[in-house]
């Protein structure tokens, strides 16, 4: 299963064992330093008021990431970490709100959401951006939300992501169209996205 999923929608998803028990809920999604894939999740307790728990869920321990639950084999999949470490990792691995610029120096926008592949992949596929007004045409009074593919040559420095200039040619504001295009490129075996 390689369906695209929005990372903001993963927050509050239950972490369910194959035995059918909920062990925690997702708090934050943590990405690696080069923004290539998910490295893990920070967690909250089972109830609304239980707050963060001093445990992490590393990506290798995830059995499958679905639209309604993060499946793990058992309770032993959770790894004990101090809360301070979990918070630090979550802050470092957070992409939401980061600036995106092209390698030519043009501002593309700010990351509103991140699209990842579900299932066992966890690969970062695209960003949903609040587009800079130079990127999209049309009314300047309207806020534009667009999808930009991650691209192979993305580099990250601090809170700024640098995408190749040609990646902005694939900008679209409709998710089904973006998904179809991404799927078509994948099927042709030339890599998922430019």
């Amino acid at each position: 299963m390689n369906e695209l999923m929005a990372v903001r929608g993963l927050t509050t998803l239950p972490v369910v064992t194959l035995g059918g028990d909920v062990v925690a809920h997702v708090k934050d999604t943590v990405f690696d330093a080069s923004a290539t894939r998910i490295t893990g999740f920070t967690l909250t307790g089972r109830t609304l008021l239980s707050g963060p728990v001093p445990q992490d869920l590393p990506w290798p321990a995830v059995h499958c990431l679905g639209h309604h639950a993060v499946m793990v084999r058992g309770r032993e999949a959770l790894v004990d970490v101090p809360l301070s470490v979990a918070r630090r990792d979550a802050l470092r691995g957070r992409l939401l709100g980061a600036q995106v610029v092209t390698d030519a120096g043009d501002t593309v926008g700010t990351v509103l959401d991140v699209l990842v592949e579900g299932g066992t992949s966890g690969r970062l596929v695209a960003f949903r951006l609040a587009a800079h007004r130079d990127l999209v045409h049309g009314s300047r009074h309207r806020r534009h939300r667009v999808y930009v593919p991650r691209g192979e040559a993305l580099s990250a420095s601090g809170r700024t992501l640098v995408v190749p200039a040609h990646a902005t040619a694939y900008v679209t504001d409709d998710l089904p169209g973006f998904t179809a295009r991404a799927g078509a490129r994948h099927d042709r075996g030339r890599g998922v996205l430019p």
Binding site: P14, V16, T17, G20, C64, L65, H68, A69, G118
Partner: protein, 142 residues
């Protein structure tokens, strides 16, 4: 035999003299795909007893004949199969459980009927406090 048919049946001691109560629920071990216990409600103020399926001597549409319980209350964890949420091992919801068919002789679950269709018993993985987890056959189908 269907879970929905068993629920509410009278539970009798051998000979039919002693009425122990009515069937409230069946406890399922989804990992081994079997019914392990029968939970019998004895009355409004008398609580319930838990009987191992091996204590059931005969099961029919008119009731269950069981050997009288000899031990104390069993501490087996119980989650109701009927009405539980169905989740594939890929984390996709597939409706809720409507009913299930099992073999009263050995307790083996033959099939589970969900709001999305029938799931063969050999695809059950676990039943917990959140959901019944079933093995995915294909990405988008039960």
């Amino acid at each position: 035999m269907l879970f929905s048919r068993v629920r509410g049946l009278p539970v009798l001691a051998p000979g039919g003299a002693d009425h122990l109560g009515t069937v409230r629920a069946l406890t399922v071990d989804a990992a081994s795909r079997t019914v392990t216990h029968v939970r019998v409600r004895r009355g409004r103020l008398r609580g319930e007893i838990v009987l191992a399926l091996g204590a059931v001597e005969a099961a029919g549409p008119d009731g269950l004949i069981v050997r009288p319980p000899d031990g104390g209350p069993s501490a087996t964890p119980h989650h109701d199969l009927l009405g539980s949420r169905v989740l594939t091992e890929c984390g996709e919801e597939r409706g809720t459980v409507l009913d299930a068919a099992f073999d009263p002789a050995d307790g083996r679950i033959e099939a589970v009927l969900t709001t999305f269709g029938e799931v063969p018993g050999d695809r059950l993985l676990g039943l917990g406090d959140h959901a019944l987890v079933v093995r995915s056959r294909r990405a988008h189908h039960l």
